[in-house]
């Protein structure tokens, strides 16, 4: 009887020890091919760096992290399929990496169905932690409303009562980004000089320049992104539209992916973002050095937020002392943790990370910091009613 007892005990102990040493698997569904591959690349770099550091320091609660990547091609239909594969076949404990909002929302449903948690580090549509919030979805990056708040604040300080012309891509996201900034800016005294929406993937913006010029704006706000930005900025320079006008825009307008193609024509552009490689803190300096050494490229906000999500997970799992979904969720709510951008806190009401926001200006390929808004001022109201 005693031998049976001891044998059982040792087996259990061995099993427990074994469980402790099996890796924690993190699924990453991110675009590795297609138009957004550049963003997916930064996400990957950020995650890999964080995983390496965490594993070298002993892992999460003694267990090593294992990242499993799947290509979602920035297509929600593919993302959903790959997410299910990761949950069902690869048995991951946690998922991250989705880039576009459609994918994040759809994969969030898959996460709910599988009883697991996911976090996005890129998608900035307000609805993800707003009216379409989910108890299994967390957001580590800043949402669109926070970005607008930072920019509107800077603009009100440096160019009070500005006359703003709005130019955006004619689709839902483009229009709502313009609308969000417009209300934030006009709440601080700006005036509207006009607005125009060009088709997505528009090649030639010169037809709109006459209208812009005749309205004599002091500021031009744009929410174009990717290739559209390259064309718009180069053509604005070509036609002299951006002379003596301050150009501002959404955080996705000028990023490390299209900065090279815009070149000097991006100089002077100001936007509101959650990160710049030039943030002057020892944490950030250390991070940037390590990132550059590993990847021969500077981190951008996608890489940095992806780096941060693994540390959030580590902190939550260690606090909850388990990888079990409900416990981790509880731990994540209200969790504060240290990131290259400073201390972030997850708001319990909507799973949105709160952080200080920056206004940055592009200058010779660098993102200089020209303004800062505190987390509390930038976060905006909690619009999530589901939990």
């Amino acid at each position: 009887m005693k031998t049976v007892f001891i044998a059982t005990l040792t087996t259990l102990a061995a099993a427990a020890a074994f469980a402790q040493s099996t890796p924690i698997r993190i699924g990453v569904v991110t675009p590795l091919s297609g138009t957004y591959a550049g963003i997916g690349q930064q996400v990957r770099w950020g995650l890999d760096l964080a995983a390496r550091e965490i594993n070298a320091a002993g892992g999460v609660a003694g267990r090593q992290l294992e990242l499993i990547y799947e290509d979602e091609e920035a297509n929600p239909a593919v993302a959903v399929q790959k997410a299910e594969k990761l949950f069902q076949v690869s048995k991951v404990d946690f998922l991250t990496g989705t880039v576009n909002s459609g994918s994040t929302l759809a994969v969030g449903q898959v996460a709910e169905r599988n009883g697991k948690l996911m976090a996005t580090t890129v998608s900035f549509a307000d609805s993800i932690t707003g009216d379409k919030c989910s108890p299994n979805v967390f957001r580590v990056n800043a949402r669109a409303g926070m970005q607008s708040a930072a920019l509107a604040d800077w603009m009100a300080t440096t160019r009070p009562n500005a006359n703003v012309f709005y130019l955006g891509p004619d689709y839902e996201m483009g229009r709502s980004t313009v609308a969000a900034f417009k209300s934030a800016a006009e709440g601080k005294g700006a005036k509207s000089a006009g607005e125009v929406f060009a088709p997505l993937d528009n090649k030639d913006y010169s037809p709109y320049f006459g209208q812009i010029r005749s309205s004599r704006p002091t500021v031009i706000y744009t929410s174009v992104a990717g290739n559209d930005t390259v064309r718009l900025f180069n053509q604005m320079a070509e036609f002299g539209v951006s002379r003596n006008v301050q150009v501002v825009g959404a955080s996705g307008t000028v990023t490390s992916q299209n900065l090279a193609a815009i070149g000097r024509n991006a100089d002077g552009f100001v936007t509101g973002v959650g990160y710049s490689p030039l943030i002057d803190s020892p944490e950030n300096k250390r991070f940037v050095t390590a990132f550059e050494a590993a990847n021969k490229a500077l981190p951008d906000l996608y890489g940095t937020d992806s780096y941060g999500v693994l540390y959030l997970y580590k902190a939550a799992v260690e606090k909850a002392r388990s990888t079990e979904t409900d416990r981790v969720r509880e731990a994540m709510r209200g969790m504060s943790w240290s990131t290259p951008q400073g201390v972030k806190t997850i708001r319990a009401g909507d799973h949105q990370a709160m952080q200080d926001m920056y206004a940055v200006r592009v200058n010779s390929g660098k993102f200089e910091i020209v303004g800062r808004v505190s987390a509390a001022a930038a976060i905006g109201p909690d619009a999530c009613t589901r939990f």
Binding site: G210, V230, G263
Partner: protein
């Protein structure tokens, strides 16, 4: 008067520079179809390839002007090889239309992906070789755009002369009209076909290089652009050079001017609608030849 000067005139002028580029693309397409009976669905990707090759050449140190001359030649070679190795294989089946359509469609998919793999997905930059703009009568004329209009116009005129006023052009037209008779007259028809395909591809590549400084360079740049080129070719009449030129210039003007009144999102659907109407009224296009489906 103010409206005429500040609103309408700029639209017309911008329409012209876009129009010239569209005509160059459409010319390549219509020549390949008219003289070869092949529908080249990879035309947009050849356009993109032209732009990328130019970027690469300039990156290696060549000047823009040299790249402008060299790129179409290089792409012509690529086109020649594609025709000999790929298109010829499906050329002799009973209905080459569908098979070449599918083949070039697949080729386009492969080329677009190859571009992504080699050059990356992020957009690339090509600096305009002529900087600056002139302001005249309150209108802005960027010098590079003027150059595109003039150079493009010259190329179009040269093509027309080549096809209709030279013995070489006559040979090509003969080969299109009656392959066997032309072959029995001693003309190397296979080579003529491949050369014509190469020529059409070279025109697309030229358009790609010319437009690269104005619009950015990225792997999917061909896909949207080729749709308008196809519409122009269909409306103008497949195989008709006159049709491609006229339809190209007129339609880009229509798009440019109509964006003053209707939301620009509808300018592509508008073009599509015009294409459908023309097909209903005159299925062979405005100047097309009957018997070409």
């Amino acid at each position: 008067m103010d409206w005429l000067q500040f609103v309408l005139a700029p639209q017309v002028i911008n329409g012209l520079s876009i129009g010239v580029a569209v005509v160059l693309m459409a010319l390549g397409l219509t020549i390949i179809f008219g003289l070869l009976d092949v529908i080249n669905m990879a035309h947009g990707e050849f356009y993109a390839l032209g732009a990328f090759v130019a970027v690469a050449l300039i990156g290696m140190g060549l000047s823009f002007w040299l790249a402008l001359l060299v790129t179409p030649v290089l792409l012509a070679l690529v086109g020649y090889l594609s025709e000999r190795t790929l298109v010829q294989r499906v050329f002799h089946s009973k209905d080459r239309h569908t098979l070449t359509l599918l083949l070039t469609f697949g080729l386009g998919v492969v080329m677009e992906d190859a571009l992504k793999i080699v050059f990356g997905a992020n957009p690339l930059r090509l600096e305009a070789p002529i900087q600056g703009a002139t302001e005249m009568l309150g209108l802005f004329f960027p010098h590079y755009r003027l150059f595109v209009m003039l150079f493009g116009g010259a190329v179009i005129a040269a093509v027309w002369l080549l096809v209709f006023r030279t013995p070489l052009g006559a040979m090509v037209r003969a080969a299109a009209f009656d392959r066997h008779m032309t072959a029995s007259l001693g003309v190397p028809v296979h080579k003529v076909y491949a050369a014509t395909f190469a020529f059409g591809v070279a025109l697309a590549a030229l358009a790609g290089v010319l437009l690269a400084p104005m619009y950015s360079v990225f792997p999917t740049m061909g896909r949207d652009f080729v749709f308008i080129a196809f519409s122009v070719v269909i409306i103008g009449g497949m195989g008709s050079i006159k049709g491609a030129v006229l339809a190209g210039l007129v339609l880009t003007q229509v798009q440019s001017i109509s964006s003053l009144w209707i939301s620009p999102v509808w300018s592509d659907p508008l073009l599509f609608g015009i294409m459908v109407l023309v097909l209903v009224w005159r299925p062979q296009g405005l100047f097309g030849r009957l018997g070409h489906a």
